[in-house]
């Protein structure tokens, strides 16, 4: 399989078009199943009552907010190393979704924090680094928006992305470094999770749904960006004239 084949915009565009409905449908089904488990099947938490159910949105959003930044950095590195235009398009297409998930994680965290901690916001390490992550997303998007030449915008954004990715591990390990209000991570790979099985399933299914949603949205955005950038090329003209 030749990867460069898929890196060409004229191959990417129809492929992405075929994949989007599948990922969108998967996202819908998984979100429906996850929300059903989260709100009707999972038992009430004995300490936090019903309020804990916001984790079915909060935790997947927080995971995705960090993960998307790493994926953006991955595409940026690939783009800088192999000089492939489509990698930059992918990195750029992911940024708004990542910022959205970061915002959702902060927002739902505040909603959870008010009844549990008695405060909408505390200056705890994890909250603060999530806020900084939001600033990093905004910074990358603002830089790319300020540059008119797409080639320069891509490269400048990619560099900033790679510099910022140092922040993502700090977020993840800050729980261990600083001992603060935020409860420790409840899911880990090395020991049994400290929550009921159904809660865990609900959360994992919601995380998968968020994943599928991200892929679908990012591909759709990448398609639009590709079309905009390749407007001079032969295949775009043929495709646009072919469709009524």
């Amino acid at each position: 399989m030749n990867l460069y084949h898929y890196a060409s915009p004229s191959t990417f565009y129809p492929w992405a078009g075929k994949l989007i409905p599948w990922f969108a449908a998967l996202a819908l089904i998984l979100a429906a199943a996850g929300l059903y488990i989260g709100f009707f099947v999972a038992p009430t938490d004995f300490q936090q009552g019903e309020g804990y159910r916001i984790i079915f949105i909060h935790v997947p959003a927080a995971w995705m907010s960090m993960f998307i930044y790493v994926v953006m950095a991955f595409w940026s590195a690939i783009g800088l190393a192999f000089n492939t235009r489509q990698s930059f398009v992918m990195a750029r297409a992911l940024a708004p979704t990542g910022a959205m998930f970061t915002f959702v994680a902060l927002w739902t965290g505040a909603l959870w924090g008010k009844p549990m901690w008695g405060a909408w916001w505390v200056w705890d390490a994890r909250l603060t680094s999530e806020l900084i992550l939001l600033f990093l997303y905004v910074g990358v998007m603002a830089l790319q928006a300020a540059i008119d030449d797409p080639r320069r915008a891509d490269r400048a954004g990619a560099l900033l992305n790679l510099v910022g990715v140092i922040n993502v591990p700090v977020i993840y390990f800050s729980v261990k470094w600083w001992n603060t209000l935020h409860q420790g991570a409840s899911v880990s790979l090395t020991r049994a999770p400290s929550m009921a099985q159904t809660m865990l399933w609900g959360m994992l299914i919601m995380a998968l749904a968020a994943w599928m949603y991200t892929i679908a949205v990012a591909l759709a955005r990448a398609r639009t960006l590709t079309l905009e950038r390749e407007r001079q090329s032969e295949w775009v003209r043929a495709r646009l004239e072919g469709q009524p």
Partner: protein, 222 residues
Amino acid sequence: MLRFLFTVVRRDVLLAARRRGDWLTAQFFFVIVVSMFPLGIGPEPGMLRTIGPGVVWVAALLASLLSLDRLFADDYRDGSLEQAMLSPCPMALLTLGKAIAHWVINGIPLLLIAPLLGIQFNLPAAALWILVLSLAIGTPILSLLGSIGAALTLGLRGGGALVTLLIMPLYVPALIFGAGAVEGVLSGSGSEAHLSLLGAFLVLSLLLAPWVSAMALKVSVE
């Protein structure tokens, strides 16, 4: 190689020495921002002592950002930046030299003013020393990371505000460790841990920042 670095630093410092108004603005900006806080918060000594280290550090971040957008811009406008980029020496040395010059022009005066501002905030003598020491380790980080932002936003509209948006989040560790060191003296828990982490961050940015901002310059100028 070292001569090239030295030449870059010397040229920038000379230019700044001949245009004193430019760099004095940033220094007075620092003093004025710090002096505004007691006026806004109130002259209560205990309160001022608590917020003092943080206020001085945040003002130092702002002052270094204020002078950053001109780091490469003047040379870019008159064409000497492109000439310097054509030289056979590695470009990371050019950006390193620029960052060092920025620190000499903007960082060192901050170190000299900071104790005076610390006295205004009722800091004890031990804390003043640590404040100067933490700024001495921390301000080179600001210049180094800032050079990345200056290179990325070279020649863009709204460059100054954009640099702040890009670079401020990256300054966060320096701010936390720097202000934390002084806080440690005030609370009696010691400052060695914070200063060591600040030093580690300086080494990391010294290793990576000149290289990244050289790549950013290439992207921006080509």
